[in-house]
């Protein structure tokens, strides 16, 4: 037996052993691919911070996107009118308006 033939048999044995050890710990049947995602060189590494998601209102009319940014300060005047913004802001903008 040549050295090359001997090495081939050793490699074949090792490969067989590895296949066997993998199948022992695996589920009998795996209907879906593994959820694990291997990182690739092409994968983006930049962290993205998602902006607040606007709420989409579905009506009979065209879809409406409403900004629900509640990060702004709001409150009430002593008379009970709603205020948007810093109560100590130097300029007061009063909006007298009506719906419809």
């Amino acid at each position: 037996m040549t050295i090359i033939r001997l090495l081939s048999m050793i490699i074949f044995t090792v490969v067989l052993a590895n296949c066997g050890s993998q199948s022992v710990g695996s589920p009998a049947a795996t209907p879906w691919p593994s959820a694990t995602i291997e990182p690739t060189r092409e994968a983006p590494t930049q962290t993205t911070i998602a902006a607040p998601t606007p709420i989409v209102i579905a009506t009979n009319e065209p879809i409406i996107v409403v900004n629900t940014d509640d990060s702004l300060a709001s409150g009430l005047t002593p008379e009970g009118y709603h205020v948007l913004g810093d109560m100590a802001a130097p300029i007061t903008f009063v909006d007298y308006s009506d719906y419809f």
């Binding site: 709420i55 209102i57 579905a58 009506t59 009979n60 009319e61 409406i64 409403v66 900004n67 629900t68 509640d70 702004l72 709001s74 005047t77 008379e79 009970g80 009118y81 709603h82 205020v83 948007l84 913004g85 810093d86 109560m87 802001a89 130097p90 300029i91 007061t92 903008f93 009063v94 909006d95 007298y96 308006s97 009506d98 719906y99 419809f100």
Partner: protein
């Protein structure tokens, strides 16, 4: 205001230069009062301005709806409000009198048309472009 208000908010409210005070009018009647009541009910759940925006954004759809009350309830739930609490608030009608009192005060102050704005007391009658509001605000900004 649907188009102008977001610009005012970005340019001046977020920067702490102005605060916007909302004084609702009811010159168009009961439907408008119901809409204002809905914003007050949304305010109980800290979403007054989100509800106001939602109503302004779909005034046509609401006005054409078979039941404006049902339409308001639907929009309240669409912006994430507790529907049961909102409906209960609407049925209570508890903001009707305060809203009508505010409307009476506005009329007594000479507000007889809409929309009307006041910037540090300077009254502006009728809709305006953002640039016109900005010119006034910039003059007043320290």
């Amino acid at each position: 205001m649907l188009e102008v208000e977001p610009q005012l908010i970005d340019a001046y409210v977020r920067t702490g230069k102005i605060r916007i005070i909302v004084r609702p009018l009811f010159q168009t009647g009961e439907d408008s009062l119901l809409a204002a009541h809905a914003t007050e009910c949304a305010g109980e759940q800290q979403h007054y301005f989100a509800m106001r925006t939602a109503i302004y954004a779909d005034q046509g759809g609401l006005f054409a709806a078979e039941s404006i009350t049902a339409g308001l309830s639907q929009r309240a739930q669409s912006i994430g409000l507790d529907g049961a609490a909102f409906d209960s608030c609407m049925q209570s009608d508890k903001y009707r009198l305060p809203l009508l009192t505010g409307y009476t005060r506005a009329k007594e102050a000479g507000i007889i048309s809409r929309p009307v704005f006041e910037i540090n007391g300077q009254r502006i009658i009728g809709a305006r472009q953002f640039s016109e509001f900005a010119a006034i605000i910039d003059q007043l900004t320290p």
